[in-house]
Amino acid sequence: MKAKTADKIATVVIVTFALLIVAVLAGLLGYILFRGVSHISWDFLTSVPQKIRAGGGIGPQLFNSLFLLVLTLIITVPLGLGAGIYMAEYARPGRITDFIRLIVEVLSSFPSIVVGLFGLLLIVNIFGLGFSLVSGALALTVFNLPLMVRITEQAFRSVPTQQKEAGFALGLSKWKIVTTVLFPVALPAIITGTILSAGRVFGEAAALMFTAGMSSPRLDFTNWNPLSSNSPLNPFRPAETLAVHIWKINSEGLAPDATQIAAGASAVLVIMVLLFNLAARFFGRFIYRKLTASRRMN
């Protein structure tokens, strides 16, 4: 009897705590969206922020975030794929492989602010790239690369070995097997992982404060020449991202409607992350169906 009461109490406690977490998420999302969505308008999304007056928007910041994300993915995806495939298919178990695995683990658990400081010292100052989108993208590369490596490695490892063996039986070289047999099967998982990691990069701020900078020049959205200084496409201009902007207005915002702007910007950020999540699921399934004969991902 006593054991049964203990069992009942424990079950109730566990279920309560689990539901509490669901409630926390629901509360969080509800609060952010409820506070923020009413402030989101086309004008808010496209106009320039105001320093002291009310009514500023987040246009340049939003654009910077997206552009920086694209730049980062252009750098990290090929590199991450290469290193990940190496770890999954070529690396022989031994000391060197262990060492590389340790590096990936350490790199991915480095605090983002340390990565930011490293970027400030090496990329911004020593390489002389200044506070710029390129510096930010390189810092995010340090931050994102281990993630990509891990995603790729797991995706390749989860491909059934029979498929690889079939390739060998046909007399294909290892590289051919990797590119034509394993890669298409692994691709949906890689794409899902990449989009999820993109969501994380999108919300990253600490590593960007000291690399991409905390200001945005006046952008002329009609000027698409990547080399001129006020062009939005110029990768060597400083760029404050949305996440950095939220931090800045929360800690030193002077505008009278700073809290509303922070709420609106937070809502935009969260909605973007939710979209990334949905897109990851959707694209993964879609591409899996395109590339393979089976209809469902396991």
Partner: protein, 308 residues
């Protein structure tokens, strides 16, 4: 005719072989380049943070013990002192508190997903965990600032900003890390262990408490350590709610600072190479060494799991 085809195909297969070899070589060298880049990244990172962080002690002649255990931080005073102990203490206190709050919740969530209602429990909690881990840290900071801080200010003495607010924000942030690792560990547990416990007549709670949790403890601890690593390195969310006073807090509701919050706030206002700037780099060095320590502990725990 027959001979001719044979010769041709022989030639073809030879050239095909060569093409494959070249492709293989290019692929291999590209991949080695990628891996090399990872190694270069970490080596240069360790080198630069070390060289900058150690110059506080080598160039500015601040003693290590003064930096680690000195309690006064006044780099701009007439008699500057660089005691970082308040920040180190702040980092440790908030991290430990966050782990204390988040661990029981996460373990319960993981048990809920794997033991209580494996079907819809997992369907319910999995997306919740993914979404929680996807929410950016500045958003957590913003919510902390506009919900947790006013709440604490109304209920408890003090301004609301402080250690408690920081720990609460961090605990929500590390929930997903601990939960997903714990859930993986629990679902990897062989079924026959549980079944034999049930066969002996044990209730579900007895099975969980005496069989499931003890056998998966090292793996769950891995999750807790990973969560603590995340909490220790988190910068902006904590900085927004902790108050950033350079003192050792006497109560949970007093404002304090962490290593990350001091770096965030002061790095932009100091010139490269000044003693204060170097002291900030030393704090970054402490953060880096702590990361190494966390990774080391995780590895130890994984080894223990492997032996079992």
């Amino acid at each position: 005719m027959v001979q001719k085809t044979k010769v041709l195909s022989g030639k073809n297969s030879k050239s095909r072989l060569e093409k494959h070899h070249i492709e293989d070589l290019i692929g291999r060298s590209y991949m080695s380049f990628c891996v090399l880049l990872l190694i270069v990244a970490i080596v240069s990172m360790v080198y630069f943070v070390m060289s900058k962080g150690l110059s506080t002690f080598a160039v500015n002649k601040v003693s290590v013990s003064e930096f680690l255990f000195g309690t006064t931080w006044s780099p701009e005073g007439d008699n500057p002192s660089y005691g970082a102990f308040p920040f180190i203490a702040g980092s440790f206190v908030t991290t430990l508190l966050a782990a204390l709050i988040a661990s029981p919740l996460s373990i319960c969530a993981a048990l809920f997903m794997t033991e209580i209602v494996p079907g819809w429990g997992k369907k319910l909690l999995q997306p919740v965990i993914e979404l929680l881990s996807g929410i950016p840290s500045v958003v957590y900071g913003f919510v902390g600032l506009s919900v947790i801080v006013p709440f604490l200010r109304n209920v408890f003495p003090g301004q609301g900003i402080g250690v408690a607010a920081g720990a609460l924000v961090l605990s929500v942030m590390i929930l997903p890390t601990i939960t997903s690792v714990a859930a993986d560990a629990l679902s990897a547990l062989p079924n026959n262990l549980k079944e034999s416990s049930y066969a002996l007549g044990a209730t579900r709670w007895q099975t969980i408490a005496r069989v499931v949790l003890p056998t998966t403890m090292p793996a769950i601890m891995t999750g807790v350590v990973l969560g603590m690593a995340r909490a220790f390195g988190e910068a902006l969310a904590v900085q927004m709610v902790i108050g950033n006073a350079p003192f050792i807090p006497k109560s949970l509701f007093e404002s304090a600072s962490t290593l990350t919050s001091v770096i965030t706030l002061s790095m932009g206002n100091t010139t490269m190479g000044s003693p204060q700037n170097n002291a900030l780099w030393s704090m970054a060095l402490v953060l880096m060494l702590m990361t190494f320590l966390f990774v080391f502990v995780v590895r130890l725990l994984e080894k223990r799991r492997a032996i079992r």
